[in-house]
């Protein structure tokens, strides 16, 4: 059984920027796979190589065993891509958009599946509305529909929930999960680490065009069996300031490697006579792992969001 996606030593340079610096990656059929990394890590470039939108300088990529250049027809038939940009063709209605996209794949008489897509994406009432009249979230869902219109076995979603409100996000994920249960391979990039943690069985982390971590989500979480302290205080002890992962709503989140380290933090607070407003301990989450792997200085500026 060929891998859903196989990437071998793919490099790509844009002028002075080495966007991809030798990526090796294999995603098996049926996986729910996460591709994470800060902006500029190369996620979208890698997806574009898979989709044939960008050509690799060296190396090769295959979708279900079909080379994306030499056998591009079979490769593209097997792949559905939800692009990151919110693009649409203002000349057409939602249904026309889906019918046309279906036709590009050579599939006509696709009305039954298009109706099902419209239903699952909650677009039924907008089927005959012009694309221009849709809200951002609806346009995003049409993009998902366009990617699925030819029932691709491998589905790549590049930031699919950006700009989609919470309720719709839930129904979108329910649908994607169903597709995954039905045997579709899902590859996801997202800025919401919480989503990746909840959905992805395996995760690759990219940094500066390289894979810096590749493991099951479970292993990644247990590899850093650490803790996060949520602390509300007037200030943070000077020695502990570099350990602050993020600040949110007046609280500081401090990463600990072991429970024993808590002793030191409390001691520092006592010594510097800092009053504790609130203190809570949290298990390791993917964000902690992500920040650890990406390295604090860069990750501090990385626009990854954790919604709690």
């Amino acid at each position: 059984m060929p891998a859903a996606v196989e990437v071998v030593n793919v490099t790509r340079r844009f002028g002075a920027v080495q966007a991809l610096a030798g990526i090796d990656l294999e995603v098996q059929q049926g996986e729910f796979f996460g591709l994470l990394g800060p902006n500029g890590a190369g996620k979208t470039t890698l997806i574009s190589v898979l989709a044939g939108l960008i050509r690799a300088d060296t190396g090769s990529a295959r979708i279900l065993g079909h080379d994306v250049i030499a056998d591009y027809r079979a490769a593209r038939r097997a792949l559905g891509v939800v692009p990151q940009e919110l693009v649409f063709d203002p000349f057409f209605t939602v249904r026309e958009t889906l019918e046309i996209q279906s036709g590009y794949f050579g599939i006509r008489d696709n009305a039954a599946w298009i109706d099902e897509l419209l239903h699952h994406l909650d677009l039924g009432s907008k089927a005959n509305a012009n694309m221009r009249s849709l809200s951002g979230g609806m346009k995003r869902r049409v993009l998902v529909g366009q990617a699925l219109v030819h029932k691709p076995p491998v589905i790549v979603l590049d930031e699919p929930t950006a700009g989609v409100d919470v309720e719709l996000r839930q129904s979108l994920w329910a649908f994607i999960r169903k597709l995954n249960r039905d045997g579709h391979t899902i590859i996801l990039t997202t800025h919401y680490l919480e989503e990746a943690e909840a959905l992805c069985g395996r995760i690759a982390m990219l940094k500066a065009g390289k894979v810096v971590a590749l493991d099951t989500t479970h292993n990644l979480l247990s590899r850093f069996a650490g803790l996060t302290v949520r602390l509300v205080a007037d200030r943070i002890p000077a020695l502990w300031q570099p350990r602050v992962l993020r600040q949110e709503g007046g609280a500081s989140f401090i990463g600990l490697d072991r429970h024993a380290e808590l002793e030191g933090l409390l001691a520092a607070l006592r010594t510097e006579r800092i009053a504790i407003g609130e203190l809570a301990l949290q298990e390791t989450d993917l964000e902690y792992v992500f920040l650890k792997i990406m390295g604090a200085p860069e990750a501090a500026t990385a626009p990854m969001v954790m919604r709690r």
């Binding site: 960008i54 996209q101 279906s102 590009y104 794949f105």
Partner: protein, 259 residues
């Protein structure tokens, strides 16, 4: 039921046709009106002052095939070029790049779509001008006219494809249109027979492929032309072939489309 699987190019062609049909007022009616204005003004001013083909043809009648062909050419160019640049600027070109459409599929769909727009506008202009010069309906060589209309629209559709892929902004596209397409069309004998030109300009006109398109097209209407129609046909067909091969090779390399 398994949906029927065919080639995607027909859908892309359908989309290209639907695109201009949905705004037909602007893409068909407007250019027909423009050509009508040219006809009214130029024929009014020049009818009694310009002699063409040694006076065998009235100037207004002479002008009509030129205007028809000019409409065909300009609209064929406008269709493929504006479709592409719009798709590039709005980003929805990705919908065409993700499916398994081959370079030949893309080429065929964009070019045929643009040819249809050019020919429809040309036909519209022809029908309207028949009210002024009904005698034109009895063409001696309609198939010659058709051959030149097809080849001419194909050439301009292909040029539009190249310009649309090349241009990154609307003003680059309009530069292409204003500095290349317009001069070549206007200086090709739409409004005059090149025999009325000084020798130097006559010679120069012979290097303009647009001249052969219009001269050959006009032969279909009058059985008269500045150069033998077969010569024009060979030159125009050769241009069409060369441009098509060039464009196909650009598409194969993914020039400006697949980085």
């Amino acid at each position: 039921m398994t949906p029927a699987v065919g080639s995607g190019w027909r859908t892309l062609l359908y989309k290209e046709l639907l695109r201009f049909w949905k705004v037909a007022f602007q893409t068909i009616l407007a250019p027909v009106l423009t050509s009508l204005l040219y006809l009214l003004i130029f024929s009014h001013v020049l009818e009694n002052n310009v002699s063409v083909f040694d006076g065998k043809v009235r100037y207004t009648a002479f002008l009509v095939p030129g205007l028809v062909m000019m409409s065909v050419l300009q609209n064929a160019f406008a269709n493929s070029s504006s479709s592409l640049i719009q798709s590039k600027i709005t980003g929805n070109l990705i919908f065409v790049l993700l499916p398994p459409l081959s370079p030949a599929n893309l080429f065929a769909a964009y070019v045929v779509g643009a040819m249809v727009r050019g020919l429809v506008v040309g036909l519209g202009v022809f029908i309207v001008t028949l009210f002024f010069v009904p005698s034109l309906l009895s063409m001696p060589h309609p198939f010659w006219a058709l051959a030149f209309a097809l080849l001419g629209s194909a050439i301009l559709a292909t040029l539009g494809l190249i310009a649309g892929i090349w241009a990154e902004k609307f003003d680059q596209l309009s530069a292409f249109q204003n500095f290349i397409i317009m001069p070549f069309t206007f200086l090709s004998g739409v409004f005059y027979s090149i025999h009325t030109l000084p020798p130097f300009w006559q010679q120069l006109s012979r290097f303009n492929p647009f001249f052969y398109m219009i001269d050959g097209f006009r032969y279909g209407f009058f059985g008269l032309s500045d150069v033998p129609p077969f010569t024009s046909l060979v030159i125009v067909a050769a241009c069409c072939l060369l441009l098509s091969l060039l464009t196909l090779s650009l598409l194969r390399r993914g020039w400006k489309l697949r980085r």
